[in-house]
């Protein structure tokens, strides 16, 4: 029985790590490939989740939707919806320099959150959308868990394959050139804004996908699930710890940091039991956990900012196309 408990915990752990991996991979397209700092990840995550929920749930008086569409349609719709929001946001804000873009994305996420909270006709506000269907009819318990994990793993692999293909493409080479020297790229006659918007939209679509996966995994979503902490800060720490610019790093970071995040309460409990951590801190373990993740981030930034797996571009950008 012990084993079953640990096993199902592991399944849940890997599922969430996988969802976060997709999120981190999307962020990597924006930050790692293009140097765009998106502090509104939670917004796109939420848009994806809500879109999937609205598309797939049964009809309800409380919120829009009830289209009862299949799982895959929900995933695709989530990606499209996030993409559209990203397009709108991007066209306005991507002309801004990186610091300003960061602030603008906070604003965007905040507006999205207010929107989701207040437009009750659409989202049922703070009460959230329940009963998001599970895509695997007939499976329950550990079977369901494993089945869903399998789906998530497949999507992580597909996402990884897609972003890796993108990374080796001429398109990404232009993105790297923009990162290095924007003016040179403009002088070469390419629209920097277009490439930036494309990268931003692509990354956001994967964030939407992660949101959809999250919605089906939880079965219930509300604005509370998409706080800046869960939806933005954690993915960022994952990407930085794992290695910005490196897709394997993104996945690795997701697993490692999610591990730290979920194990910390257990660790704190343990330390409390043996007397190192005082009781009142143990009660507020969730905050201590945030503090420790923040501390971990700072340590990484000071000692090894490139992360565990540093970026490795396929080819230097200033060599002519036909050499080596």
């Amino acid at each position: 029985m012990e084993f079953a408990g640990v096993f199902s915990y592991l399944v849940f752990f890997l599922t969430m790590a996988g969802i976060y991996a997709v999120l981190a991979l999307g962020l990597n397209v924006q930050w790692g490939y293009t140097g765009q700092i998106n502090i509104g990840v939670a917004g796109f995550f939420a848009v994806g989740a809500y879109t999937a929920a609205i598309m797939t749930t049964a009809p309800s008086e409380d919120h829009l939707g009830g289209f009862g569409l299949p799982f895959v349609v929900g995933l695709v719709a989530a990606m499209i919806a996030s993409g559209i929001v990203a397009l709108a946001v991007g066209l306005i804000t991507l002309k801004l320099r990186s610091d300003y873009l960061a602030i603008a994305t906070i604003g965007i996420a905040e507006i999205l959150r207010l929107f989701l909270k207040n437009e009750q006709w659409l989202t049922n506000g703070v009460r959230g959308i329940p009963s998001i269907p599970n895509p695997l009819e007939g499976l329950t318990g550990i079977g369901l868990g494993l089945g869903y994990l399998a789906i998530v793993i497949v999507l992580v692999v597909l996402t990884y394959w897609a972003v890796e293909r993108l990374y080796r493409s001429p398109w990404a080479r232009v993105l790297r050139a923009i990162r290095a020297n924007e003016d040179a790229v403009t002088a070469a006659g390419k629209s920097v804004l277009r490439f930036r918007v494309e990268a931003f939209v692509t990354g956001s679509m994967f964030m939407g996908l992660a949101g959809a996966l999250y919605a089906h995994n939880s079965g219930f979503i509300s604005p509370e699930a998409f706080t800046p902490m869960f939806g933005t800060f954690l993915p960022w720490v994952m990407l930085i710890a794992g290695g910005s610019g490196n897709n394997r790093g993104a996945i690795l970071g997701a697993v490692v940091i999610w591990g730290v995040w979920t194990m910390t309460p257990t660790l704190i409990d343990l330390l409390n039991n043996i007397g190192i951590v005082p009781a009142f801190l143990a009660e507020r373990a969730s905050f201590l956990r945030i503090f420790l993740i923040g501390l971990l981030l700072e340590i990484i930034l000071v000692t090894r900012p490139q992360g565990i797996l540093p970026e490795r571009p396929p080819r230097p950008i200033d060599l002519p196309a036909d050499s080596g």
Binding site: A102, W236, L297
Partner: protein
């Protein structure tokens, strides 16, 4: 008509609070070249330090205020010495991300020590003054007056003292400042000191006007940044003007849109300014 004037008054109060935060953000942006995302949580920290003074040590608010701004200034300088200083040569984005980490650490510290619930400086409701049909909370006199006093002190510092001029010089051109022999590290320390003092004041005033809550400062971060950008990076006077405009606009907006969307107003104004005149009202830096 009365409604509009009432909203104007709310806007001035809010704008004064935002201004204190925005000045600090603008100075840090101008001198240290990065967006300090932990600024809101510095405000929160200041507010809670004052709570220690008032509730824990039973000090009158005035002394608690002084204690809190000193403590926050010390923390602010300390964070720079321990962390940001090591990242001085890093890309501004790394500093930005680092400050997000600091924001979370400060916030979680507040939550660990004081808990996640609302707190207030003193129990009991203040009776508002009714003057000519307009409502005034007595605290507002202290808030707007206190903010104005701090801004005047800052003005005198920047215009009349050697170090203040050096700060303006470094904000204009840090390389030239170095080349001229200005002690740039000293200017940096004073920048954090001033930013800490003003942020703490903003937090305390906010706590007086509303209540204390671990995310009180974070919620104000967007309007604070919007004001700093609106006014022009590195232009503290611009930040003040920007803050008042944004504060008043946010309150006035409730005439036409739902109050829930007030933060969106600050954001919209910031984006409009960035599109129209990226250097801001007082033509500051473009980073």
């Amino acid at each position: 008509m009365i409604d509009i004037v009432q909203l104007l008054i709310y806007g001035i109060v809010l704008g004064s609070i935002i201004a204190l935060g925005a000045i600090g953000v603008s100075l840090i942006f101008g001198i240290l070249r990065f967006a300090h995302f932990a600024h809101g949580d510095l405000m929160t920290l200041g507010a809670y330090f004052a709570l220690v003074g008032v509730a824990g040590m039973n000090l009158p608010m005035f002394f608690a205020f002084l204690l809190a701004i000193a403590a926050t200034a010390a923390v602010s300088i300390g964070i720079d010495r321990v962390l940001y200083r090591r990242l001085r040569r890093s890309h501004p984005i790394i500093l930005l991300i680092s400050s997000v980490g600091v924001a979370l650490m400060l916030r979680s510290l507040v939550q660990m020590i004081w808990g996640p619930d609302n707190k207030i400086y003193q129990a009991g409701v203040q009776m508002p003054w009714i003057v000519g049909g307009l409502r005034f909370k007595p605290d507002w006199v202290m808030i707007v007056g206190g903010a104005a006093a701090l801004m005047i002190l800052l003005h005198l510092f920047l215009q009349r003292t050697r170090l203040g001029k050096a700060m303006r010089a470094m904000s204009d051109n840090a390389d030239l400042a170095r080349v001229s022999g200005i002690d740039t590290e000293k200017v940096v320390i004073w920048t954090w000191l001033i930013a800490g003092v003003l942020a703490a004041a903003a937090g305390i005033f906010l706590g007086m006007d509303t209540r204390l809550h671990p995310i009180m400062g974070w919620k104000l971060l967007l309007p604070v940044f919007a004001a700093a950008i609106f006014g022009g990076i590195g232009k503290p006077y611009g930040a003040i003007v920007g803050a008042l405009i944004i504060g008043i606009a946010q309150e006035m907006s409730t005439l036409v849109i739902s109050p829930a969307y007030k933060p969106a107003v600050a954001f919209a104004l910031m984006v409009l300014m960035l599109i129209w005149r990226p250097t801001g009202l007082f033509r500051g830096k473009v980073l």
